[in-house]
């Protein structure tokens, strides 16, 4: 009887039953210091595949540093950071972990997209050239295929008509949308957003947030450091509040935002509420 049931069970589900789902990102006791200043003080974090994790917190709480450590733009000083089951930027060595060679690191980074507070578009390349730069020169995709993919991505962020423009001619919101398309062109399995709307006017921020919202609905795994509380509430699957280099509180966004348990979370959210309608506090 049991055997017959097994026979009809789809293979995919069998795998799910026996292999615990591997998180997309897993941080174990991550430490990071700049000189004598400890920015991350033993941070633990887990993000499942397909999940949208939002990070909130004051300036200097370590949000940016955490994101930069996840794709190894910054070295960590201790702990372990896994992306898709692989130790990021290091290899296992028992008591220690050892930093890997640049070639291997580049391969790992290519699978993680990142969008910064400022778009950091390449000003000497057009919009289209910005988007195909990494696929052509890092992944060695044929140029025609890269262009086709880039056009599809730019259409999705609503900038198909600005293919040949230089970034300097675009508004801040348009630049950020191109930056998202540029990151997506590498077909990442994880997207990191480091306060992508903090440098934008509120009206313009909306168009960037809606692109991010669409991405979340398609199942992209995302980690978003942000001050946009409406986005956290509506799009986030989970929110963590960081303060002083540790995660003070985490949970479902509605619970955390409406009923914060910790004093520091309460204080942070109250200050946020007194600024601009409770939905948006100023950039760092």
């Amino acid at each position: 009887m049991a055997a017959a049931a097994w026979g009809f069970m789809p293979v995919r589900n069998v795998a799910r039953l026996f292999v615990p789902a591997m998180p997309m990102v897993r941080a174990e006791d991550v430490h990071k210091r700049y000189g004598r200043l400890e920015v991350l003080k033993g941070l633990h974090l887990e993000v499942a595949a397909g999940e949208v994790l939002c990070i909130i917190g004051t300036c200097g709480s370590g949000k940016s540093t955490l994101l930069r450590c996840i794709n190894h733009l910054e070295r960590i000083d201790g702990g372990r950071l896994y992306v898709d089951g692989e130790l990021m930027g290091y290899r296992e060595g028992g008591d220690c972990i050892y930093e890997i060679r640049q070639r291997d690191l580049c391969r790992q980074r290519a699978g993680v997209g990142m969008v910064f507070e400022r778009s950091n578009l390449f000003p000497h390349l057009t919009v289209l050239e910005n988007v195909i730069e990494a696929p052509v020169h890092v992944k060695h995709e044929p140029k025609a295929a890269a262009i086709e993919h880039a056009r599809a991505l730019l259409k999705r962020v609503g900038l198909l008509d600005r293919l040949d423009a230089y970034p300097g001619r675009l508004s801040g919101g348009q630049q950020q949308r191109v930056a998202i398309a540029r990151a997506l062109a590498m077909r990442p399995k994880l997207m990191l957003f480091d306060e992508p709307t903090s440098a934008l006017d509120p009206e313009v921020a909306g168009e960037v947030l809606s692109v991010m919202r669409g991405l979340a609905h398609e199942g992209m795994t995302m980690i978003v450091a942000t001050h946009e509380m409406a986005f956290v509430r509506d799009v986030g699957d989970e929110v963590v509040f960081m303060d002083g280099g540790v995660i003070v509180e985490s949970g479902n966004p509605r619970d955390v935002l409406l009923h914060p348990q910790h004093e520091r979370t309460k204080a942070f959210l109250q200050v946020g509420a007194s600024l601009a309608d409770g939905s948006r506090s100023g950039p760092c």
């Binding site: 640049q102 580049c106 980074r109 950091n120 390449f122 390349l125 890092v138 230089y166 590498m186």
Partner: protein, 268 residues
């Protein structure tokens, strides 16, 4: 209608009058200079010896500039690297080559045989011909100046550009070549152009080791025809032509780089 009269500026007029007067005095002096033989000068200007010297001057300048640029990039990257020894090494090189007169460096390279009889298995005198010594001396010196220009250009590029490149999976070498250097070029082209003009003129210094350039030729011919001042002027005129052409090229390159925010197409 009330007429609006601009402020009178008597000093502007006086200054202009002085400049014109000086120009007239100079022209008269040159015209009266009976020692300058016009026809002979014109003949020398396009004489085969001078043209050969001109050719060598151009080749010298171009080869030295190529060495200088390559060395400059290397030294600038060393200077900006995290390794202390590389940084110090680059700093020491610049300190040494910028801190001693180019003429002295040319003399040392030209007389290297007095220091080392052999370079590896080769005899120094056969390897270090005056031309080779000239290229080496000018190129190594140019490298020190180009290093500073390149470093300033690279530092001028926003740090976020490197972050974005690395985040896309680029290696630091690829990011430097595809993203950072093309942007640094904007800050580099103007001082590098000035530096090249300096180099063009500095090639004349190799006449002290008979490097074969314009001035060497001029000095070689003058005992034969005793027209040393004409020959010097002929050489001066050629240098002026070379620097003028370079200035025009520099102007167009700057304009091209400055177009529409950043108009260079670093096509793949």
């Amino acid at each position: 209608m009330v007429r609006a009269i601009p402020l009178r500026r008597p000093w502007l007029w006086l200054g202009s009058a002085v400049v014109v007067a000086l120009a007239v005095v100079l022209a008269v002096a040159i015209y009266r200079g009976h020692d300058i033989h016009g026809a002979a000068t014109a003949q020398l200007q396009f004489g085969p010896a001078m043209l050969r010297g001109l050719q060598i001057t151009i080749v010298l300048a171009v080869l030295s500039e190529i060495i200088g640029i390559a060395l400059g990039i290397l030294l600038a990257v060393m200077r900006l690297s995290p390794g202390t020894v590389l940084r110090l090494g680059s700093g020491f090189y610049v300190w040494l080559f910028r801190g001693t007169p180019l003429l002295v460096q040319i003399l040392i390279w030209g007389n290297l045989a007095l220091l080392f009889e052999y370079i590896g298995p080769f005899k120094t005198t056969t390897l270090m011909t005056p031309f080779v010594a000239s290229v080496v001396a000018l190129g190594l010196n140019e490298g020190a100046y180009m290093a500073e220009i390149m470093r300033a250009g690279i530092v001028a590029v926003d740090r976020g550009q490197l972050d974005a490149s690395l985040a896309l999976g680029m290696s630091s070498a690829l990011a430097l070549r595809r993203i950072v250097l093309p942007q640094a070029l904007r800050a580099i082209v103007s001082p590098a152009g000035n530096q090249f003009i300096s180099l063009l003129k500095a090639t004349s210094l190799v006449s002290v080791i008979a490097g074969g350039d314009l001035l060497t030729v001029a000095e070689n011919i003058s005992p034969a025809n005793l027209r040393s001042i004409e020959l010097t002027l002929v050489a001066a005129l050629w240098y002026l032509v070379l620097t003028t052409v370079t200035s025009v090229g520099q102007y167009f390159m700057e304009r091209r780089l400055g177009r529409g925010g950043m108009g260079i197409h670093a096509g793949p």
